[in-house]
Symmetry: C2
Subunit: 185 residues, 2 copies
């Protein structure tokens, strides 16, 4: 069994949620956007729960169960999937504080392999990356991600690659991150 430190964004969740822009994580923004897509009957896309291994559960009474020991697991798949216009959608979303490049260490090898598998089966795969200090969010389709990984020794994807091969997502009001608009189907 492989354990990991803790997933991205976990500590962030302890922050007070502020529905202005500051203080919202990319995950919060995407969850709200996905809820908008669902409510508007545009798409059905969810973030998967955080994968954990449960070691111990207490049952203090018949109606309650408390997990008292569990560990985070390395995910086998990406965090988000669902359906849009009849197509299977699958993506990973990450923030980086770097202002120049996105470190590939932020995405597990399992997740890259998963994106390759789903695109081979006809699914739509991509990553969404937020450069938090630049206040810029990009979508990069899986084929451009693979092209970079397969043709470069670099351990991070330069911002310029996102500018050239990806699309910059303009932040809007509703939904805040209208990423589906940038997918050609």
């Amino acid at each position: 069994m492989t354990y990991m430190n803790y997933p991205n964004g976990l500590q962030k969740k302890k922050k007070t949620i502020n529905y202005g822009n500051r203080g919202m994580s990319l995950e919060d923004d995407l969850n709200i956007s996905n809820q908008y897509y669902l409510d508007s009957n545009i798409a059905v896309i969810y973030k998967k729960p955080t994968p954990i291994t449960i070691n111990h559960v207490d049952f203090p009474n018949r109606r309650d169960a408390i997990i008292t020991e569990a560990h985070f697991k390395i995910p086998s798949t990406t965090d988000y999937n669902g359906i849009y216009k009849g197509k299977y959608i699958d993506f990973e979303a990450k923030e980086t504080t770097s202002t120049t490049s996105f470190p590939l260490a932020n995405i597990h090898e399992h997740q890259i392999r998963h994106l390759r598998q789903i695109t081979e089966h006809g699914g739509i795969g991509f990553i969404i990356v937020e450069f938090t200090r630049l206040n810029r969010i990009f979508i990069l389709m899986a084929n451009e991600l693979f092209a970079f990984i397969d043709n470069s020794e670099r351990k991070s994807i330069p911002l310029q690659y996102f500018e050239e091969k990806g699309k910059e997502i303009k932040i809007s009001l509703r939904p805040r991150i209208d990423y589906l608009k940038y997918i050609d189907l």
Copy 2:
């Protein structure tokens, strides 16, 4: 926040895993079947992690994180989804010890609504139900599930309905539960 007692199958997981037939839960069988589909490049389908709310995490050292308090959440979606022949696949799997009918209380209303949403968007939805004492497993496509729910006051689906409107899955060697064979695409 809505809490629940504990998910189906949780206590079952504490059993010793026995790769003969006895002692395997439906979830175990499906996970092994999905791994076969993945390894054989037939489909990419995963069980989602159990949804929990994390209340407290200890960091005893830099490399470790232990969840010391968490609760089970009622799932918003079904447990399984993925892609098969370019189609979005989505289903829930349940065991029942009843020998006559499948109690609908085993499936949350959220999950029924989710199945309705994904079929409206062109996905393939269904449930897999194992009558454990009969040693019989059925697949029931979402439209037949909805037809029952929308036209009946009954709180459980009779076995006969599965026999007439569903398909019985023959247990095979590899994969053990070849449920994709029963889906018309």
